[in-house]
Assembly symmetry: C2
């Protein structure tokens, strides 16, 4: 499949806490690096845009809708639905839609559609552990999974790590409650067996501790466990940073120490910055999707667009398909994707 010379990314401008103009500023950064951006949102709020960015006036936002699935179905003019449709139609090669993971997932499934041979789309999130980044998949697209789903998540995550994160031979692991192959739920045991026999660089089961230990580049799990693991990590990380900050203001001596330490801690904060990897990746559709966090600044939005474009150039979707086909792990041909695939999704992973 010939890759496009100029990659076009469809971006929903309505999911940012900082507003559509912040997304446009991110789009400008990406456009300056050669990516073409179709920006869907209220033209008035977006204002002037840079060269390479084309605004499609789409003033209807469902970013705050209580039920994203219903909102996507019932609002064909919503900016996120229009952006996803542009990808489905071939006017753009990838989707960037932030704020609501549920809305991005629903808009993607209905308009971009599931890739051929894929059971379920999955959400993968590259976690910025200092010096030991790791990608966790699935972090919440599916509340329940079967072993063959986990196997596909492993292949999807490995292709993402190769193409977008530049890891040549990603080490893939399965999240469990013990390192031994005999530990885990029946789901984990069966997925372990299938992965051990796959051509992936499978390093076996890992425990929760290994999210931060650097023993694997991709950690595979079901969406329920992945969502819990991701949010525990976020909560503990935030709590620790707040506690250190509180300790650094608890006395005059501590305040002085904190002031001296600040430049070094700022480096740490930058390493932990979730904006670097661009957000969560929506895998298993016919094209790639990226879901930046609603609180991202223009930097995060630009990263999401640039990394989506890198995923297109490196053909994450085609590579995933080829690897799954070679491994005999594609789903047998059957009925097309139905909304039944849209199980409970988190509002924000």
């Amino acid at each position: 499949m010939a890759r496009p010379v100029t990659v076009t990314v469809a971006v929903d401008a309505t999911g940012a806490d900082l507003g559509p103009a912040e997304v446009a500023a991110g789009a400008a950064i990406a456009a300056a690096q050669g990516v073409r951006v179709l920006l869907f949102g209220p033209a008035e709020a977006i204002g002037e845009v840079a060269d390479g960015v084309e605004v499609v006036d789409a003033p209807i936002s469902i970013a705050k809708a209580p039920d994203p699935v219903i909102a996507v179905r019932s609002t064909p003019d919503a900016s996120i639905v229009q952006a996803a449709r542009a990808v489905g139609d071939g006017r753009a090669h990838a989707l960037v839609a932030g704020g609501s993971t549920g809305a991005a997932l629903a808009a993607g499934l209905f308009n971009i559609k599931r890739a051929s041979g894929i059971f379920r789309p999955a959400l993968a999130i590259p976690i910025p552990v200092p010096g030991k980044p790791v990608t966790l998949v699935d972090v919440g697209a599916n509340a329940e999974s079967r072993p063959e789903h986990l196997v596909q998540f492993a292949f999807m995550g490995a292709a993402l790590a190769q193409v977008v994160l530049g890891i040549e031979q990603p080490r893939v692991a399965l999240l469990s409650n013990g390192e031994e192959a005999v530990k885990g739920t029946p789901l984990v045991l069966e997925a372990h067996e299938k992965l051990a026999g796959s051509p992936l660089r499978f390093v076996g089961n890992v425990e929760g501790l290994d999210i931060t230990s650097g023993v694997a580049d991709v950690i595979v799990t079901d969406g329920f466990t992945g969502n819990v693991a991701l949010k525990v990590a976020e909560g503990v990380s935030q709590t620790m940073l707040e506690a250190v900050r509180a300790a650094a203001t608890s006395s005059i001596r501590a305040k002085l120490g904190g002031a001296l330490l600040r430049p070094s801690l700022r480096g740490l904060r930058d390493q932990l910055d979730p904006e670097g990897p661009g957000g969560a990746y929506l895998l298993g559709l016919r094209q790639l999707g990226v879901v930046p966090h609603g609180r991202f600044t223009r930097f995060g939005w630009s990263q999401a667009i640039l990394l989506a474009a890198r995923g297109v150039s490196g053909d994450v979707v085609g590579r995933t398909h080829a690897a799954l086909e070679a491994a005999g792990a594609l789903r047998a041909k059957g009925p097309a994707a139905s909304s039944g695939d849209l199980t409970t999704v988190p509002s924000q992973p």
Copy 2:
């Protein structure tokens, strides 16, 4: 049931990384506060002991056995098995056995036995979140659970929080991938319904972020998810502390700042100290068990013994039974506990 005036705790001295003498030192601290300790381990390594501590020479240790269930079954003279038998026989009122959770669970199930009406024992761990402690249950006694198990875990955890941690009306929550009652696996949905109709102070579903947010005193989950959540929290917490330490040695300026900040950070470290709550609690047996971490010092061991004694005085087991009975949540009478209950257990939660 009349509570004993002097509580006797059976302690296995062989599970500490620092050796049996460190456990004996912890026992001495507890004995000085009126607890009687039966200390099982190699008398030679234990040496002289304090008043109130009685050594039972039991030189055989299975603390490092690769398969704790097999080791417990095949080694009736092992110190941990003898300690558990003392509790089963009524010579002691509670068990403290550290190092291997799997061995403690197996020794407890075989020798103390499951409490009447309880489906499965569970491991509960009080997590020392600064200012917002929370007890997570189950953290790994069971790889798989049914909704009625989670309901019992909730009652067990609530009784533990009341008696041992002194929380009058513990807020009980269910761990899920979203706060809404409709979010989660079928297991979570069904357990939610049962808990919502129970007399517990049930505050609904919480997410992984809430392990550190202080919205609940007891968070209930299956042993697989609980084990992953606990270890992710441990891993992230350790990694953050190490990163702060590295930042504080990255330059001369940072080193000076770190030195000034050290007393305040020491306070934080003390608040995060896992030794304070004494370890993991083994609930659902006829008597209480506590599993200190292998790396605990004498302080942690003394806490484990003192809190076990508090659990006996406050009748955690009897209260749990009464509350489950009143709620109609006891298991119908059936065959006694079998080793089939010993599903995969982690070597150390």
